[in-house]
Symmetry: C5
Subunit: 324 residues, 5 copies
């Protein structure tokens, strides 16, 4: 599905309505310095991709990649053109999970094709923002920046969501509420997957920052450095999330042990409280002929009183040593 497609000259959009793929390709082929076409596709059919490949003469290996999702993020130069794979993410609060989309970017001097799969990181707002700035005159490199910036900015709420979950888990385990093992484990799994989406971006952005792709306008390097810096921050946060979750799992184990200690103690205390009067009763249940207290009228009451005293003092004792 074509989301939007426009022709830009000297950074200015030439028309409001979206072009078709064939028109766009024709304009791109005829474009001169300072002109380019930006085509945005969402969840395209294979037919649309094949059309784009034929018309724009895209690299077949790259198009192959764009058809299947679950790629790893990367940036590859095919002489004169650049192919970028991104994995945008969004945090789904209900399921405490991170959902990944996928964006494929084909960049050549006179066209930029952005293919988006999934919910995360809608690109239309990035296009609108860029059209209002004066960066588009730097050419397709500006499109690359805008898309990268959007995707990386959208990582921030994911990081915050995980941060928040970690804090909830911390509270849960130290308040000794329900067992949180499952939640901790699945959080950790999310973090590991998130890391896989983010980490490979860094070398790609550093290559852009260093100017490894001469197709990108030199003046954009500062912008790519800025995005790289955000990625570094996200990655450091993910790394500490991982470490924290590992520590939480260990702390959880210790707390379970502490809790078991407490349970065993309180159970034992109650066992003692019932065992002692039972023992007393069994004494007076013996059948010796000569047990003077048995015949006393107050015998039974004294016995009951002794049992009560035993229970009370044991209870008091166990309270004092904090077993109860």
């Amino acid at each position: 599905m074509i989301v939007d497609c426009a022709h830009y000259r000297a950074g200015v959009r030439q028309h409001e309505e979206a072009l078709g793929i064939e028109d766009a390709a024709r304009i791109a082929a005829a474009a001169v310095e300072g002109e380019f076409v930006w085509l945005g596709l969402r969840d395209p059919s294979d037919a649309e991709l094949d059309l784009a490949q034929r018309d724009f003469d895209l690299n077949p290996l790259a198009v192959e990649d764009a058809k299947e999702t679950h790629q790893r993020p990367k940036l590859e130069g095919y002489d004169g053109s650049v192919f970028i794979v991104l994995r945008p993410a969004r945090y789904v609060d209900e399921s405490e999970s991170v959902e990944f989309g996928e964006i494929h970017l084909f960049l050549a001097p006179h066209y930029a094709i952005a293919v988006r799969h999934g919910e995360a990181s809608a690109l239309q707002p990035a296009r609108r923002l860029l059209e209002r700035s004066n960066l588009l005159r730097h050419g397709v490199g500006a499109v690359a920046w805008a898309v990268l910036d959007k995707v990386v900015d959208d990582y921030a709420p994911v990081v915050d969501g995980i941060d928040n979950d970690i804090q909830e888990v911390e509270e849960d385990i130290f308040a000794r509420r329900d067992d949180s093992t499952q939640r901790i484990y699945f959080l950790k799994r999310e973090v590991i997957q998130f890391h896989r989406a983010v980490a490979p971006l860094l070398p790609a952005l550093e290559a852009l920052e260093r100017g490894a792709y001469p197709e990108m306008d030199r003046e954009l390097r500062g912008y790519f450095r800025d995005v790289a810096d955000h990625v570094r921050r996200v990655e450091e946060q993910i790394t500490s999330h991982r470490e924290l979750l590992t520590s939480i799992l260990e702390a959880n184990l210790a707390l379970l042990s502490v809790r078991q200690n407490a349970v065993v103690r309180s159970i034992s205390a109650w066992a003692a409280i019932i065992a002692v009067p039972t023992f007393l009763a069994s004494i007076w249940g013996m059948n010796f002929t000569h047990m003077p207290e048995l015949d006393e009228p107050w015998g039974y009451w004294i016995a009951l009183a002794m049992m009560a005293v035993a229970v009370a003092s044991l209870y008091g004792f166990f309270r004092r040593i904090r077993w109860l």
Copy 2:
């Protein structure tokens, strides 16, 4: 055993039937630019290998390696020729294990010899595919690519199989079914072995991508980069499998502790439920002469009722605090 052996000129197979080793060697020796011979052997006898070595003048150290299996994957250049060791894998569902084969590739400007040991990654389909493409005109480098691509593509179902097992184990431990420790451990062992088969491929492919072996046609570099990219993806997946399995083992330990807590609690609750009426019975089993309730006609029934009440209220109490 010779699986197939053919003579290619300008990317076109010259005949349908398979050549013998000696004929192949003769053609290779006489080959000019654009011609080569592709010999495919499976589980060859030492005699076949020695024949191939003599006729093709293969490097003795490489042939030595090809005779014994359990090599590590590698790519080595012997001036003018290249020797590649690969460890294809296949996932055996019944035993939840990964089975490794071994492929040795001898490449020189005018011949490519592929020696396969074991079940994994049959190469004949790769040859058929390549013969239908127009890549064979790039020479033996195309053979190297086809074999590498086949082996690496065949890693995908292994990764999926492990993925699937991990999900099953997750379900098992969080549903608190049988103890999964053994299954987790053996999965981890498979993953460690799989990693050893995959990881050394990366530097080899990066060398091909960088063009370290001038014998390989320059235009194939993009193809090798593509394979390298797949290997990177597989490796990242294996790395997260490892991490996940480590976390599962830890979570499992915590869950065992939780379960033990639960068992101890429910046992203790039942112990209390039986201890209290036993205590009551022991009171009325005392032999004091003056125990008024003993002589009442309703005494026994009241006693039984009190016991029933004690049992019921303890049961209710333990249900309320979730020990039962």
Copy 3:
């Protein structure tokens, strides 16, 4: 809020009172070799930052960063100017936590703008000290050094505070006082965060030491090396804190297990001490007609004595094997 702002010529402050932003910018614009302006802002409003940006013509991306806090430490050159982000820290003893501030430094040949957020690392003392030294004649590089040195020096009490907490925790767990799991965990979290504030400084300082920024006076390199050395020391200490806390968590788990062993043993000992006399009583509670000892006048006393002896010898036995 402007903390201080002064014009320096040949390392000497030209006036005592603080300049306004516009005056400062005017002087900086007109400054010649050996002259610069040092503007110190604290928790500035966006309006102040925008004013500074317009007047000093600061890089918009850097100012964007300076407006939001929670940046990662970094050092970035924008041709002719340098932008530094620092995360000063201070240790809050009451809450055993590390509180982070943020300092942004804009450096150009003729001005240095320091923007501080939060409590940590007041910069006015560093300015006073620098004014009394003769380093200011090296230009804005000296300001960079003074600020870096102040921030890094202020890490020392944080390290000491954490050191101290770790020692307290060690004493606690080995003296088997209250459960320290929560405290250990939160200490570890602080250490992880502290590491994130410190570690990225090192490559930045090494770049200064190597002279990657020609704007900095060559003679200051030794000073930057000195700061880098302090950062290295802090980082090594943080790394050992992390390792120690991991080990403490593990030792804690072992100690909990030891303690549980001790509890189970002492409980079992007491259970035995009460079970044996109860058993004896149940023997003499049997209703056999012919139990000679039942009719002896001394029978009961002997029975009680036997129980007492059983209790005493069991108690002695359990003391001897250290279960009690």
Copy 4:
């Protein structure tokens, strides 16, 4: 003790009997291109080493090293000569331990001195093999290769021995036989020590492969690469052994927990089976005057039957829930 010492010219041994140190040194001093002396010492006395040092003018620091064992493996060039330290290993099955020897190699254009300490890796077979090959005409580099190859080949049975022990331990812990903690720990200790003997070899061999020592004949590089490849394989295997042993230790902990759960459950089941009939008996042991069943002739038998039924149904129940 001199094991063997011979003079080689153009790769051919000049005589069968072993030379003395002084003769060997004289021949080496007078040797021309293509000639060298190979001296093999085993557990030499300090006097022998001092003699060799004086006569061959060995580097005093290297000889100092050769006198004491427990060196780490290394390869050092002293202009014109090379000093190599190796740590051969052998697996001692009785004690499940790895025993390390030590080999010091002094190489110069016209002599090779091999000093061996301990049992592992006898070098005489390597000399015999080399004398039968045609490699000796490459000079002392061939000796270096033969010794390195022998030592590294002798690592294979050690790896296999450890592999085998790990499999036994796996079987033991999953069959829940005796506690294997001690065995796992000592295996891990062996693996750590083995790693220390093997890992430093790799950079040394890579230096030889790259040709860092021009004293070694260029044509031997392929041979050194082959040895380096074996070392890499051994190192990867050691690394997975380590990981496996870590996982086994963790799995062992989980299994101990599982086993404790099982024990606690079965104990509790038996406790319940005995507690219920005891409670029933205590009911009929009460002294109420009006307990109609007590006076029935069938009362006792019914009571015993009820107890039996209680025991049987509890037993059945616990079997059903798999606590017994």
Copy 5:
């Protein structure tokens, strides 16, 4: 305090008695090629250091460092002079701890100043040794080597001490003596601190080995390589100590679990042994009118015998299944 101070010319000490700081500085200032002064201070007062700084014109940043201890080891060149910080260590057997001193070395072409803090690594023996060798003619570089060599050699007994403690701990935990958790933890802490003292030395020594400091005589490089090699060995040993201690902590946890299993089993066995006869007694304590055995003269004795048989067979059974 001045330990010793002498003037050397062509490697020969010019006088026996120690010079004062001022005389030494005067000689150093007037020294020509081949002459230098070696001043040894121990725990100097700030006044002595200030005097040395003024007279020898030492770098103020380095002197600042020399006044405070707890520096990290490092080697820094200040054009023409070199400043080295070392952390010698000694093993204190009584407290099983490692005690660190600190040595600061100021080296310039014509003087070497060694400042020592703390007990570890007295330098006077190193001076005596060096004076007897012929290395002093290489100038102050020889002093650097002698001090480094002394410090690194003194690490060996520390490594041995830790080795020994680890062996004791191993024996303790596998012999299941007292709980060793505390000892293991503090050993690990010592090892972590020791690592911090040793690890930073390596890059410094490698710089000396590579000849990064032209002030050091070229011929000494072999000597520095020798020291670097020792440091590498010490570092590898520390690394395995760390790993071993981590494994010991884990093994310890498993052993505690095993021990708890054993305790729980033996307790349960004893509980069963007492519960069964108690149950039998409670049967014959029932008050049924018709319990034929109660009236038999042999009833009581049979009952006692049955109890004894029950106890004996349970005991035998539990012995057989190894619970007792």
